[in-house]
Subunit: 171 residues, 2 copies
Amino acid sequence: MRYGIAVFPSKKVQDVANSYRKRYDPHYALIPPHITLKEPFDAEENEIEEKIIPELKQIAKNTEPFSYGIYKVSSFSPVTNTIYLKVEPSEEIFDLNDKLHTGSLPEKKDFKFVPHITIAQKLSDDEFFDVYGSLSMNKFDIQDNIGRFQLLYQLENGAWSVYETFRLGEG
Amino acid sequence: MRYGIAVFPSKKVQDVANSYRKRYDPHYALIPPHITLKEPFDAEENEIEEKIIPELKQIAKNTEPFSYGIYKVSSFSPVTNTIYLKVEPSEEIFDLNDKLHTGSLPEKKDFKFVPHITIAQKLSDDEFFDVYGSLSMNKFDIQDNIGRFQLLYQLENGAWSVYETFRLGEG
């Protein structure tokens, strides 16, 4: 099965993100707004149960909850036409991302970690310039907390279902 | 915020359910296939954190994982035109449903508990008779396990996001 690890931000942030995703993100229906902490990887269910979940519990236990800010949108252009709420980088979120690429957890990173919440993707170039031109004028002043992360798995229709939650600072 | 408690069945069951939901369930994009254990209720986040989550942990700890079978589809007609995969009733699932209506957890039950996985809803009467006539001929022979339940909350767009997972038999 295909697994991934993500944080679902608080309701207020998810509602803001969805107000854009509804119009601009074809993945709107496949998963709620999220910060990907680990790109999708393939694993067997027994490996998940016996090795990966115990390690995720340890990582969660050894990581204190932390806060982050969102102040603007940004984009991965010209690599892709993805637009996102920029999660202000912090030592805490980079540390957590690093920990999730150690031990039994696949270490492969296809991309440098850029913490973000996607709000638009797969736009045509014309749409992208139009939408990004307008969204990039927006200023945000959002403070939010990360107190847990989620192990998800992908269904045949592409949607993601939560397998388990891991609370930071708890074991 | 509006909360609910549900079980997400295994991937194999979710994939079967989605093969029907895609065509017949307008809630397809709002939540993965699920067994509702507690109807939506309103609560404040501090009440969730301080009272409800500790009680859910206790309930999970005191409930052993259990299996269930799916052998046929059934429907809530004539009350509603909902069609569902019938979760074979068992003492375990009724007990768990009962426990989730005790203590600080709202006790109100609008309906008698009928364990099910919705695959079609809000059909017109004509569609209903057509779809149910065809689906009710199907026989299933699915065995699945319930090893956890999830506390969810509803976003402004109607979609449900997972707040936390509770593993049965673990504290």
